[in-house]
Symmetry: C2
Subunit: 286 residues, 2 copies
């Protein structure tokens, strides 16, 4: 593996390259980004060796696509058109169904691997890239059987070096599950932030009362709208279903508060305390 091209020099792509550079010191790392400031910054930060152009992808041994998922739908088929026959193309977007569908009949489909690393922070851009972001984190791979054995092998080697826990799923199962554990969390956090900001417009100094609990619950509301808008759009049906469940639970809780049904309030919270054991299980499993 001599030439690695990263399309999208942001948090996720930048963090992947930071780690790959350690394990593949002989490789040359190229960056492609429609945002000139980002790709220049990535070079300054030592994430990439050189700024590259799209046409150069024909020289690639590995292409990593780490851009908003609506852009991936357009860019991925173009990348598959361009690359030479031994190259591996990996996309790391947060949705998988539409992306897999976009290349299902492409003649070079077998060079593509659909992946989603469950890792990140609320920050974005090349300055947000950090080393060892993926250690012990889950990586979902979809439709692995559609990728050639040889390129599966190369991908496994890469993810092993990043120390990720690999799990295999269908794109449909991925998009459904991730709507609950990731997309809904972001919406709940954004809308919490919005509700409190609205109240603050009427009431001064409200944020002086915010503690670490609010900070933790609202953390994801710092996330990038450019990245998250297309995710919600592409995963529309699952996001709507998760939101329906959430709004229904909130409305029922509201009814219990309104009706002074303290037993229901208590029980709801006590049953949800089970999240402690579940989260501990995740930590221990990792």
């Amino acid at each position: 593996m001599k030439k690695v091209y990263l399309i999208g020099t942001g948090l996720i792509g930048g963090s992947i390259l930071k780690d790959l550079r350690v394990h593949y010191p002989q490789a040359i790392f190229y960056g492609i980004d429609h945002n000139d400031a980002h790709v220049e910054k990535a070079k300054q930060n030592g994430i990439i060796d050189e700024v590259a152009q799209f046409q150069e992808l024909k020289n690639a041994d590995l292409v990593i696509i780490s851009i908003p998922v609506d852009a991936t739908l357009k860019v991925l088929p173009q990348v598959l058109d361009l690359v030479n026959e031994h190259a591996l193309i990996i996309d790391v977007g947060s949705t998988k169904e539409a992306i897999c569908k976009s290349v299902e009949n492409h003649k070079n489909r077998r060079q593509f691997l659909a992946a989603h690393p469950i890792a990140g922070t609320e920050f974005s851009g090349p300055d947000a890239a950090i080393s060892n972001l993926f250690v012990k984190k889950t990586l979902i791979i979809c439709e692995v059987e559609k990728t050639t054995f040889k390129l599966q092998e190369l991908a496994n080697e890469l993810f092993e070096k990043l120390e990720m826990r690999v799990r295999y799923m269908t794109p449909a199962a991925h998009d459904k599950h991730i709507a609950y554990v990731s997309h809904l969390s972001h919406i709940s956090s954004f809308m919490l932030g919005k509700t409190v900001i609205q109240e603050e417009e009427n009431e001064r100094d409200i944020f002086d009362l915010a503690g670490s609990g609010f900070e933790s619950t609202v953390r994801l509301a710092k996330s990038s709208p450019a990245m998250w808008t297309p995710i919600f759009a592409q995963n529309k049906e699952n996001v709507l279903a998760s939101l329906d469940g959430y709004i229904e639970n909130l409305s029922r809780f509201r009814e219990s508060v309104k009706n002074n049904d303290h037993q229901s309030i208590f029980q709801d919270m006590e049953e949800t305390n089970r999240i402690k054991t579940i989260l501990k299980g995740i930590e221990n499993g990792k």
Copy 2:
């Protein structure tokens, strides 16, 4: 200050005593708790010197009440009945209006100070008590003018030693603001946990996909139902108002997703990104 009595040997009360012991090495610290295991544990952990009984409060120089807010409504007037005339009584509950109201006509009202430290974790009980929990955290004091000058002075000395940032508010303003920045955060987190657990009952392995984003947003769902049920009950009207605002924002967001109104989705998130600056302001201010 020779004799300090703590009623309720949990996270908050225990953490206060851990710090006070450092600053008042000559004082003796007593613990009162209807939970025998908790008060024994607090003694084992060195949080208190002795287990005490309610009647002994007549010997107190300082009484700290740190129990669920429904219990405070009953216990606080009884404590004011019992104490000697120089004692300071502080309650640290998360609601202030009903508690202040419960003693507004008590003959010893001027020995009471209503306070709320905006600090804590999602854990509870004496084992959850930690040192330096309150450093640079906000402390809300309500109706300060109803406490005698001398006892205001003692309270200020205590909070200064804990290194807290003191703010003064009316009980009504406190309860309204805190509904948004604290109580609503807890409900949003509990209901997120509930929604995901419900989905997991149908779909196995969903939690294998949970990352740090979900963990952060759902953290408060580990909180104690025994503590939180009476808080929501006592702050009913403000909690309902905050929930109404939250559910309305979620429903509007849902409509935008449903109608493919990507511009509204983007704008909603971009405007809420303002939370970054606000939270940074809080950190810098502290």
